[in-house]
């Protein structure tokens, strides 16, 4: 053991679990204990791997635990619960991102808002900050808000997405793309499928939150239309999208 301590990763998604295990052991220098769906195994930073027997589980005292939200059902397993509860800190993550705590989680568990699909979903620096926070070991969530990985203040992903869709729409208008695209982009569905699938009925609020201050009219009008809360005349659509794009460009550049 390196002296930095142990980290527990609970994730049934094999590739992601492997990537995160390698990150935390080889790069961040921890001894990593993982749980897929049936057994605990440990991997030291020197590369030694072994499956942990039941009587070894009590010796596991992780500084922190990364828990895939999709595997929360495992928390009902006594052995898993015991080991997770012995962690000083528990951080939930998901392949699609998390918007807040869930009832089935433990108390004081934190979460990573963005989608974690592998090591590359966060920078090495952001992972190191998390590792550092695990190591510091003080109780409470006061410092957690300063960690980029756990911060809810993130890139305005919906604003960026809408901006991209605006670009696509205008390119289609300008015939820079094949003609079938032109028809697509003028439909509400073209806009709403990706946005509503992600934000659901909270799209307008999500945009407000990301914007941070009063959302300019063209943007609000466009988003309400996408969300199905209002209509835009077909003849008005191009102008609305053009104006919204300008506002979004300024806002994103800030």
């Amino acid at each position: 053991m390196t002296g930095k301590g142990q980290v527990l990763i609970i994730d049934s998604t094999g590739n992601r679990r492997k990537e995160l295990r390698e990150l935390w052991s080889n790069v961040l220098g921890y001894e990593v204990v993982t749980y897929g769906d049936s057994e605990f195994s440990s991997l030291s930073s020197s590369g030694r791997s072994e499956i942990l027997a039941a009587d070894a589980l009590s010796k596991i005292q992780p500084l922190g635990c990364l828990f895939h939200h999709g595997d929360i059902a495992q928390y009902k397993e006594l052995e898993v619960k015991k080991v997770v509860d012995s962690s000083q800190r528990v951080v939930m993550f998901s392949g699609v991102g998390l918007s807040g705590p869930k009832p089935e989680w433990g108390k004081n568990w934190l979460w990573i808002p963005r989608a974690i699909t592998g090591r590359g979903s966060a920078s090495d620096r952001e992972w190191r900050q998390l590792a550092d926070w695990f190591k510091a070991g003080t109780a409470g969530t006061a410092n957690a808000r300063s960690l980029e990985l756990l911060s809810v203040k993130k890139r305005p992903q919906f604003l960026i997405a809408i901006y991209i869709l605006c670009q696509g729409f205008l390119a289609a208008e300008g015939m820079r793309v094949k003609t079938t695209a032109v028809g697509q982009t003028r439909t509400r569905e073209w806009w709403s499928v990706p946005l509503l699938k992600s934000a659901g009925p909270t799209l307008v609020n999500t945009v407000r939150q990301e914007w941070g201050e009063a959302v300019p009219d063209p943007v609000l009008r466009l988003v309400r239309w996408i969300a199905g809360e209002s209509d835009i005349e077909d003849s008005e659509l191009s102008k609305t999208v053009t104006d919204a794009k300008k506002e979004l460009e300024c806002r994103i550049a800030k």
């Binding site: 699609v96 991102g97 963005r114 989608a115 966060a122 920078s123 090495d124 620096r125 952001e126 980029e148 890139r155 992903q157 919906f158 960026i160 997405a161 901006y163 991209i164 869709l165 670009q167 696509g168 390119a171 820079r176 793309v177 094949k178 079938t180 695209a181 697509q184 073209w190 499928v193 990706p194 946005l195 699938k197 992600s198 934000a199 460009e249 994103i252 550049a253 800030k254």
Partner: protein, 169 residues
């Protein structure tokens, strides 16, 4: 994206501004006699060491700029990951091209590579002159080489600082 920007900031700020440029200033003072130190040893332990770390990272930075920063990457995450195949067929590539064009990304990378080469050449040239340098001889050539190196480093740092949030989207 944040990794690339982190690397860029580290190269520009930590390595070039905080290390390379001050090292060249120090070398100028050593050669002009204000500071007593072994010129070649000082150069090797400061400029050469820093540049040896910086140069490969710069190459990586310019190579990875387009793939790392492309807005195409937004289609791999929420919410655009949910775009239907009919959109995915054309929109990511279009957005990428618009982005490249708008920010002249390739031009920026090309200029950056040229500036990095300029610094590299200046480092080699100064190193060669210092190997043959005798403190009793005329310092003009060596000082000239160090000043050119300093200028090249400043130019490179300025170029790296131009990016900021600009390439974000």
């Amino acid at each position: 994206m944040s990794d690339w920007n982190e690397l860029r900031a580290r190269l520009s700020h930590d390595l070039i501004k905080n290390r390379l440029i001050p090292a060249t200033s120090r070398m100028i003072k050593v050669v002009n006699g204000s500071v007593l130190a072994d010129p070649l040893e000082t150069f090797d332990t400061t400029v050469t060491v820093v540049w040896a770390e910086t140069n490969p990272s710069l190459k990586l930075l310019f190579e990875c700029c387009e793939p790392d920063l492309t807005p195409r990457n937004y289609f791999a995450v929420e919410p655009l990951v949910h775009c239907p195949p009919s959109t995915m067929e054309w929109l990511p590539d279009l957005i990428h091209e618009l982005w490249v064009e708008r920010h002249d990304v390739r031009g920026w990378c090309k200029s950056g590579c040229a500036l990095a080469e300029g610094v590299d050449t200046a480092v080699q040239s100064a190193s060669e002159l210092l190997k043959r340098y005798d403190a009793d001889e005329d310092k003009t050539d060596v000082l000239g080489a160090l000043l050119r190196l300093q200028e090249a480093a400043i130019g490179l740092s300025t170029h790296l600082s131009l990016v900021g949030n600009r390439f974000m989207i």
